[in-house]
Amino acid sequence: MRMHPRRTFAIALRQLYLVRGSVSRLLPMFGWVAVDIVLWGFITRYLNTVASPGFSFVPVLLGAVLMWDFFTRVMQGVTMAFFEDVWSRNFLNIFASPLSIPEYLAGLVLSSIATSAIGLTVMLLLASFVFGLSMLTYGGSLALFVMVLFIFGIALGIVGCALVLRLGPSAEWFVWPIPSMVSPFVGVFYPLSTLPSWMQVVSRALPPSYVFEGMRAIVHGGRAAPHSLALGGALAVLYVFGACVLFARVYRQAVRTGLIARYSAESVS
């Protein structure tokens, strides 16, 4: 099937229109992440005063918080663009157009790239200039860390969209806590060895685990194991593929049962 970039761009442009015209959409894109960075920035400052000399919590904790918030923003960038269609009951207009599912999903991803880039920029500026975090600490691996978290964020975002499409608008409350449910398993703040063995099994299936283990290895003077990062990247790609297949199946089912049309008609039934 041929992808039509103009249709994909339309989805992202729609999101830009909405964000541009709404403080309540614009503020959360950088407001909450800024609060998070400030909070954890002060926590790391305090911990540095009680830690052994020569050890800095800034790259350990603040770097991890920044990367985790980036992952969360990527996921929410996808789901928020989708929820706009849910909230405005726009499915009938959207899916009765020539827009294909790959074009629609690509549009959601494009929206997420734009919105998460804004959040990431704000976090980097705050963390660097106010709390002295240097992302250069992570060297060339940083690009891979960002890429793995981005791809996995996209995957979970698409899974969230599929859930809401399948279960209805109220299922968005299942989607918001997904990052919090994943975070204990991926060792954002602690080594995976801290976890009980059954949790470590789950961790190995989650791409961010490899990112945060890699970040810790670098901070402690080592380097991120290339094969671990490659595994994390491969897993993330697999998750995206699986998420797209899931969304396409849920959509097909919704077209078969008439759910897409009812989604719009709910308000008038």
Binding site: R6, L13, E84, N90, A96, S100, A261, S264, V268
Partner: protein, 245 residues
């Protein structure tokens, strides 16, 4: 030439059959009214024509493109306006038209939007969010959106339901002008029999998921011993068996 060919269309939900072996065609330059009581299968039919509901059987061809196998090409030649599918209220009129114009890959979009804003008297609302427009104004925006891509097949589900008589007349005139160009056909559902008589070249009366009657709205009532289209409609709704061919 045919812009819509529906053949033996069927939709079942478990043991319930909503549309049962529906077949009809719409030619270029023709406005066809799809009539019937609530639950007759009109909206189910329209949803299948829009590609948002998969038929259990049968085929739909839009301007020569099979909807099942050439979905994007078929839907490029279609558009619709429905009272239950308003455009997003949080976008302005222009933003909505630009967004949907891009989805339908309309060339010369800016000029097309300007022309439609003028045609439907919406220019002064260009930068107004659709959600704060009156229902009549929102309907006009929906119809402008439906005509963005100059579709070969225009589906209108109660397009004038929320309009005052003067505006409804203007909308009917605009659609008649659009169809008079000979490039498009229209499927129009309405419960307003005066409107149907005024605008439709042909009507299909549906009951229990099937086409019960097919003919000219101005002569069909007499052919079945009824004084008016409204009386015929009521008979279809209450005693469809008395009319079965």
């Amino acid at each position: 030439m045919t812009v819509l060919a529906v053949s033996n269309l069927r939709k079942s939900y478990g043991a319930t059959t909503a549309v049962d072996g529906l077949s009809f065609q719409i030619a270029r330059g023709e406005i066809v009214g799809l009539l019937g009581p609530n639950g007759a299968g009109k909206t189910t039919t329209i949803n299948m024509l829009l590609g948002v509901l998969e038929p259990s059987a049968g085929s739909i061809s839009i301007d020569g493109r099979n909807l099942a196998t050439e979905r994007a090409a078929a839907l490029m030649r279609t558009n619709f306006a429905a009272v239950y599918a308003p455009l997003p209220g949080n976008l302005t009129v222009t933003q909505n038209l630009r967004f949907f114009g891009m989805l339908y890959d309309v060339r010369g979009l800016r000029a097309r939007i300007d022309a439609l804003l003028e045609q439907f008297d919406l220019a002064r609302f260009r930068h107004t969010r659709c959600g704060v427009l009156s229902s009549g104004e929102q309907t006009r925006v929906s119809i402008a959106k439906a005509m963005l891509n100059a579709p070969a097949l225009l589906l209108l589900d109660e397009p004038t339901a929320s309009l005052d008589p003067a505006t409804a007349q203007e909308i009917r005139a605009a659609i008649r002008t659009f169809v008079a160009g000979g490039q498009a056909g229209v499927l129009w559902t309405s419960h307003n029999m005066y409107e149907v008589e005024d605008v439709c070249d042909r009507v299909l009366f549906m009951a229990r998921g099937q086409v019960l009657l097919d003919g000219n709205p101005r002569t069909l009532p007499q052919e079945h011993g009824k004084a008016s289209l409204e009386e015929l409609f009521i008979t279809v709704a209450r005693e469809p068996l008395s009319l079965e061919r």
